[in-house]
Symmetry: C2
Subunit: 256 residues, 2 copies
């Protein structure tokens, strides 16, 4: 049997996603990268800039999953409350992190014209007591890890830099492998029974069925995922054979 992989959850913090103003761009990136390093994403929540909601979600997820990632709410404005809420969730002080203050002050002093490290910007150097900063090339205002809780920026470019700085420090699991097959003009209702039988033969894998639309018609894509690459290949072959009974099966995702 394969060792069970560690698990991850993601909290997307921000009213702008809930209002539809902003289309989240972080979920898919993190889902993909976490799968690659064997820490699959098991749950995502999008929550508003409300302290009680953030604190409750952080405490729920850090108890239930091996890792919690958050995006958003670590800038200098009044609606950036993630860092303070994480301190409250862990029951620790929220205080200026001196090393970070010094790094940011030096960065701001070097700029032309120099930037003032005012009270608002100093919030970005204020961390839960005991937090470990996540430093990246994108900005001197850091993310941070507090035990299994990893706090990152909401801006995708900065979030990605922070994640890539953090990733080598995480103990990963076995990468999740996936294989897909598809067939145009074959439909889920035709192959559902056969697919159930394959799933029953490979209970350790996650088999998915996804209809798609193409040239006024459509088809179905079937995907096998799991940490045992040989088993994934075997199941994908069986799915290919199943589709071939009803149409022209092809390997890979449909290009539609």
């Amino acid at each position: 049997m394969t060792k069970t992989n560690p698990t991850a959850s993601l909290l997307i913090i921000g009213n702008e996603v809930l209002s539809g103003r902003t289309r989240d761009a972080n979920l898919q990136f993190l889902a993909t990268r976490l799968g690659e390093i064997g820490i699959p994403l098991r749950e995502v929540r999008v929550i508003p800039d409300v302290p009680e909601e953030i604190i409750a979600a952080v405490n729920h997820c850090r108890a239930k999953y091996d890792h919690v990632f958050t995006t958003g709410g670590i800038g200098p404005t009044h609606d950036d409350i993630t860092s303070e809420c994480v301190a409250r969730a862990f029951g620790v002080a929220w205080e200026v992190h001196e090393e970070t203050r010094a790094i940011m002050a030096a960065d701001y002093a070097r700029r032309s014209p120099p930037v003032e490290l005012n009270a608002a910007r100093l919030r970005m150097a204020t961390l839960p007591k005991g937090a470990v900063p996540i430093r990246s090339t994108a900005t001197t205002a850091p993310g941070f890890s507090m035990e299994n809780e990893h706090v990152m920026a909401g801006v995708p470019r900065i979030m990605q830099a922070m994640f890539e700085a953090l990733a080598p420090t995480l103990e990963g699991g076995i990468p999740v492998t996936s294989r897909s097959v598809h067939a145009h003009r074959v439909f889920e209702g035709q192959i559902a029974e056969g697919l159930t039988a394959i799933q029953d033969r490979y209970p350790a894998l996650d088999l998915g069925s996804y209809p798609y639309y193409w040239q006024d018609s459509g088809g179905v894509a079937l995907v096998a995922k799991g940490t045992d690459a040989a088993m994934v290949e075997a199941a994908a072959q069986e799915m290919f054979d199943l589709l071939a009974r009803f149409g022209t099966a092809q390997r890979g995702e449909p290009q539609v």
Copy 2:
């Protein structure tokens, strides 16, 4: 004082979003449309195709919010378990809905060549006892409402048709109005203090600050939202004046 609007939550059900295979396209549509009809979205969860997770999330959200919307998991394959899980969450039987079976059977019989209403497809006519089907022009396999829980397809085109069929039956609230202003080369750290003061003068509004990147530099967009349109306009004017102290303020969202 304005009457409080009803609230909504969204459950996105599907391993394919959590694995990164599929980028969700339903959140932003529903967030926008629900804001327009005055039922703002307060929380979103993306959860896997695991019965216990679905049942727990449905029961949590239907108790906490006025409406719960779910997308995904109502097709004919083994991983389509939303409908059955909603029945279990409500403690009712999951049984063939005769009117829906008849509608689907007639539709399938009319096709050329005719489509068999086999066991897999019959799952799509099987609903929690007491559910009200959501019929749309997109497909004869329906979504359904079970009290305040509204179950829709995951395919965006079908989901949108189901939502538009459902929306006129929902008692909406006061539409959420928003106004935005922005300025290139003005940064959050400069305006944070002034923005906090505006937020303090308009506690009924939701003011947001969003940095953006543009031509190797960037700027900040400020957004005011609320159900009192006159108050939103007044706050937007104050935000415009705040930005104008530091740069060239403009109304509307930046085109970047």
